[in-house]
């Protein structure tokens, strides 16, 4: 009897029975996940509900002022600046996402070739993705100022970030430059997972390079397209840092760089309208979810590999 119990014991301090060992394992499991789950619960899951709750109130720095029902949402639907912020964010998304995907894919294909120095080129293309948005924006402000390098090269005198018609486009360029490297890495991983016999078959059939790409590689990358598109759209919808820094937090000139998150930030921090800002956060989540759903339909269900 004693020997059996000893044998079942997982360790010196273990429980005496199988049931006890199970219970102990479960208790240890709960203990191990307790702290992470507490962090997720308090700072991720609870805030979702709390954000929705706050969005139904007039809420200031000292908390609830009055219950206003759906007024915050009504206000936003009729707010001129919110409309502009939404328009700018959508414009930004529809320009940045295709550029990032095309550049990312092109760079991935190039560094996937059997060429000399491919590790160097891969690092070179990824390099801008390493840097902080603040530092890279500071450098971009310098390059794009009225007397900056770009104007010296093109021979103009445009203050790119301070001109209403070029400011948002300049942010598009800045972000395409700094994030395409990450998209390249995603595409590169997908390219390297395509079995080589597919290409061998194409080579036997004497299919041209261009045709091989469009008929074989491009369709096989479908799961990668879906993934990159989702990541890229979510990133674009959340654009904030660059717009905040180039406009000194104003979203100017004349609201041309006002993005949804920047307007959300301004509403919360400068205007102290937490209810309205929370409503904007909820709308942003709804829009991002809608985009993800549309993409899922457009690309089909990602295949299980």
């Amino acid at each position: 009897m004693r020997t059996i119990a000893t044998r079942l014991r997982p360790g010196k301090r273990g429980a005496a029975t199988v049931g006890g060992a199970r219970l102990r394992e479960a208790l240890v499991g709960y203990a191990f996940v307790l702290l992470p789950m507490a962090v997720f619960g308090v700072f991720f899951l609870y805030p979702i509900g709390y954000a929705i709750y706050i969005s139904f109130f007039d809420w200031g720095i000292y908390g609830k002022i009055a219950s206003v029902g759906t007024h915050n949402y009504h206000y936003l639907f009729h707010d001129h600046v919110f409309g502009l912020a939404l328009k700018n964010t959508l414009f930004f998304t529809f320009t940045v996402v295709p550029i990032q995907m095309a550049l990312g894919l092109a760079m991935a294909i190039v560094v996937n070739q059997k060429i000399r120095g491919r590790a160097f080129f891969r690092s070179a293309f990824y390099f801008p993705s390493l840097t902080s948005s603040a530092a890279i924006t500071a450098i971009a402000i310098f390059i794009l100022n009225a007397d900056g390098l770009l104007n010296k090269i093109v021979g103009g005198h445009t203050p790119w970030f301070e001109n209403e018609s070029t400011a948002l486009w300049s942010i598009v360029g800045l972000i395409s430059w700094t994030t395409s490297g990450t998209m390249m890495l995603f595409y590169l991983a997908a390219l390297q997972s395509i079995p080589t016999d597919v290409y061998e078959a194409a080579a036997i059939d004497n299919t041209g390079t261009w045709r091989t790409f469009w008929k074989i590689t491009f369709p096989l990358l479908k799961p990668a397209h879906f993934f990159v598109a989702v990541v890229s759209v979510i990133g674009a919808m959340k654009v904030f840092d660059q717009a905040f820094i180039v406009s000194h937090g104003t979203g100017g000139p004349n609201n041309s760089t006002m993005t949804m998150v920047l307007y959300l930030y301004r509403t919360a921090i400068y205007d102290v309208h937490f209810g309205r800002a929370a409503a904007m956060g909820v709308l942003l989540l709804v829009i991002i979810m809608a985009f993800t759903l549309i993409q899922r339909i457009a690309f089909g269900r990602p295949e299980v590999q």
Binding site: P36, F44, S132, L185, A189, L285
Partner: protein, 289 residues
Amino acid sequence: MMLETSAVAAEALIPPRATSERVRTLLTYTALLAISALFFVPFLWAVSTSFKTLPQTAYFHLLPHPWTMAPYREALSKFNFALYMRNSAFLAAVITASNVFLAGLGGYAFARLRFPGREVLFLLVLSTLMMPDQLRMVPVFVMLTNWHLVNSFASYILISLVTAGNLFFMRQYFLTIPKDFEEAAKLDGAGYFKTFWRVMLPLAGPAIAAVTILQFQGVWNDFFWPNLLLQDTAHYVLTTGLAQFVFQYQTQWNDLMAASLIAIAPIVLLFIFFQRYFISGVVSAGVKG
């Protein structure tokens, strides 16, 4: 010049082939060098400017004449980037350590220990992966304001103690480790925590390296949360300090470029030494997440 050499080198290396093949090689290298130049020129221009005196920054000269270290001294002494760098380093170190430990602990439990409700809890973890920070911004700010934690490092550390992405990443890695190691530890009488700490964590080296590097980079480069939670000058980090510098002294280009490069340098060094982990980390976080 460089283009010619590489084309010639490529030709010497590869046995003679059809002209189309050679044209393709030439085009590939042209494209590669053009994109690389496009990606690097702004950085080179920033480096050059950071060694110039202010009057020189108005001219189109690639090399500074004379060279000066003054912008770096200015940035570190007059503009307090030394303090911002300390703040950034402190936050990045603390948050990275807590992420490695908590993501490891939780990841191990979700990968190996059996307890009722494990699947449901894990689904909850995964659901937070999808959530944009901008939705939780207002409620988290309201909560931290109520707890009088805004403008203290504790606020940023608390909300960043562990991320779902890191926990998921560690769990996936633990799943790939054979169970033999734990069973051996068990036979030696090691408890669960000891097994985790002495056996599993050391075996998860590559995963820990990836989490460490990406988390450190994430905090070091983060602008959104410090800009929201750490708004007084004593708590500025490099990114928010840089933004304030832009707002106040935008046209002191040499000092601004020096400060920007100080902010970039540590991550570039990390990248040079741990490139492998950067790339595998980004890719696996992406592919699995």
